[in-house]
């Protein structure tokens, strides 16, 4: 485990060197925005709508006491989406989608000698391949997460209207009440950290492959597992540091 951590840190030093050519880096960054960012919008929309809807219905279902106002449904949906569901659950989903993609893409390049080809051409492969992925993830994931918050809350509102468990007025009143803007800042900080974890850990696991196609599959699985565990672990640490 310590050896792995050491290799990961050494790789990070290589990754964060100055890119060989600025225009090439910018072109690769744009490609990664599409591959890792915009291609994920579909799954983010679907997961967010249903998560928001489920949170709203479950909250309404659990309010038994007449002393608790039904406006709490809107409030709870907003808080749950902003604080936890959008940044953490969507990041876990992205760890599966984006993490496995990064590990398998870089891993395949390793086993087919494409990384060796870059190196003998005098290109820093870690910097060329992984830095645009980390940068794209750290810049685009917050956009995805804010999008997820909005869509999720809209999903909750729609669920309330369609099922009739809470009126639209009650939901919106709850949604607008007791809003603390720092919760959004907290969610964005978490997302940026999670994006770094997903892209750098998956990049490392793909880059350090030795062997063939079986190892590519194994690295892809490890990328999802390790990223997910680290996301949950850092979720706890960041929550402790930023909210308490």
């Amino acid at each position: 485990m310590l050896k792995m951590l050491g290799e990961y840190l050494i790789l990070l030093v290589e990754i964060f060197k100055r890119p060989d050519k600025g225009p090439v880096f910018r072109s690769r960054l744009l490609t990664e925005f599409v591959g890792l960012g915009t291609d994920s919008i579909g799954i983010v929309v679907i997961i967010s709508i249903f998560t928001g809807a489920i949170v709203a219905i479950q909250t309404a279902y659990n309010i038994d006491s007449p002393l608790i106002p039904l406006t709490m449904v809107g409030f709870t949906t907003r808080q749950m989406m902003i604080l936890e569901f959008s940044p953490t659950i969507i990041s876990l989903i992205l760890a599966g989608k984006v993490g496995s993609r990064i590990a398998s893409e870089i891993g395949t390049m390793r086993v087919t000698e494409q990384i060796d080809a870059l190196r003998v051409m005098g290109v820093n492969p870690a910097n060329y391949l992984i830095l645009p992925k980390i940068t794209a993830s750290m810049l685009f994931n917050p956009v995805l997460i804010i999008f997820s918050m909005v869509i999720g809350i809209w999903g909750g509102w729609m669920a309330c209207i369609v099922t009739g468990v809470v009126t639209s007025t009650d939901f919106i009143m709850g949604l607008r009440g007791w809003f603390e803007p720092f919760t959004v800042t907290y969610a964005i900080i978490k997302t940026v950290v999670f994006a770094f974890i997903i892209s750098s850990v998956s990049g490392y696991l793909g880059y350090s492959i030795k062997g063939g196609s079986v190892e590519v599959g194994a690295a892809s699985t490890k990328a999802v597992v390790y990223s997910s565990i680290l996301i949950i672990f850092f979720d706890l640490i960041l929550t402790q540091l930023l909210l308490i």
Partner: protein, 248 residues
């Protein structure tokens, strides 16, 4: 010219290269031959800087490559072209982008100049109208030719080819060998070819280095290799049924 001086390399308990010294001459096709596990891939990877030898040094025209820091090695790397066994073309790039890659990274050419150069080298390797195809859409022989085009696109002084004929039919293999030989002469490059294909040895082996169990066992050329009495070399040269029958 590339000088290999007393190179040794050990992995765990296995000494793969034992004090190997040789010279790869400019303007000639220098072959490294030997059975699988003889150390030829490790020798080539040491030459191109993918493996650091435990002892000895590699000198590219008076430039001590193996002793330089990674940053300083970069200048020599720009003069290298490498043809990997599987081609190592970038999957996400089409043929044109693959060949243009070294030009994008190391030159300040305009897009028009780069396209001209790409088309020139693709024509040189007898490939036309394939610019927009992806590696998955072309044959093994075409892949090798695109890889050669990429390797020579930036006018390298040194060309390294690792098993250029692996996975190719004999006819295509002959075409690739002839192409490498022609390019070497035309651009006066120092070409190093790692192979165990006896057709290649007899077709383009201007200088041959035979490795046996990590040691440089024999040196010669395509004209002398068949007459050599060395038993280990004979075992390698006449290892197939076809060559044994021809010998009889």
């Amino acid at each position: 010219m590339i000088e290999v001086k007393n190179i040794s390399k050990t992995f765990g308990d296995n000494q793969v290269l034992k004090n190997v010294s040789t010279i790869f001459e400019k303007g000639q096709t220098n072959l490294i031959i030997g059975q699988s596990g003889s150390g030829k891939t490790v020798l080539m990877k040491s030459c191109i800087g993918l493996i650091d030898p435990d002892e000895g040094e590699i000198i590219f025209d008076q430039r001590p490559f193996s002793r330089l820091a990674e940053k300083q090695k970069k200048d020599i790397r720009k003069d290298m072209g490498v043809l990997f066994q599987g081609g190592a073309l970038f999957d996400s790039f089409n043929v044109e982008q693959n060949v243009m890659f070294p030009l994008n990274m190391f030159t300040t050419m305009s897009l028009e100049e780069k396209l001209d150069r790409v088309n020139f080298v693709l024509k040189r390797v007898n490939l036309e109208n394939v610019n927009k195809l992806y590696p998955s859409e072309i044959s093994g022989g075409m892949m090798k030719r695109v890889a050669i085009a990429r390797a020579i696109s930036n006018n390298p002084q040194y060309l390294f080819c690792d098993e250029p004929n692996s996975g190719l039919d004999p006819k295509t293999a002959e075409v690739i060998d002839a192409l490498i030989s022609e390019i070497t002469e035309e651009y006066n490059m120092t070409t190093v070819i790692n192979t165990h294909d006896m057709n290649s040895v007899l077709q383009i082996g201007q200088r041959i280095n035979f490795l046996y169990k990590g040691q440089l066992w024999w040196q010669g050329d395509m004209h002398t290799i068949l007459e050599e009495e060395n038993p280990e070399l004979q075992e390698f040269v006449f290892s197939t049924e076809l060559t044994r029958r021809i010998k009889k």
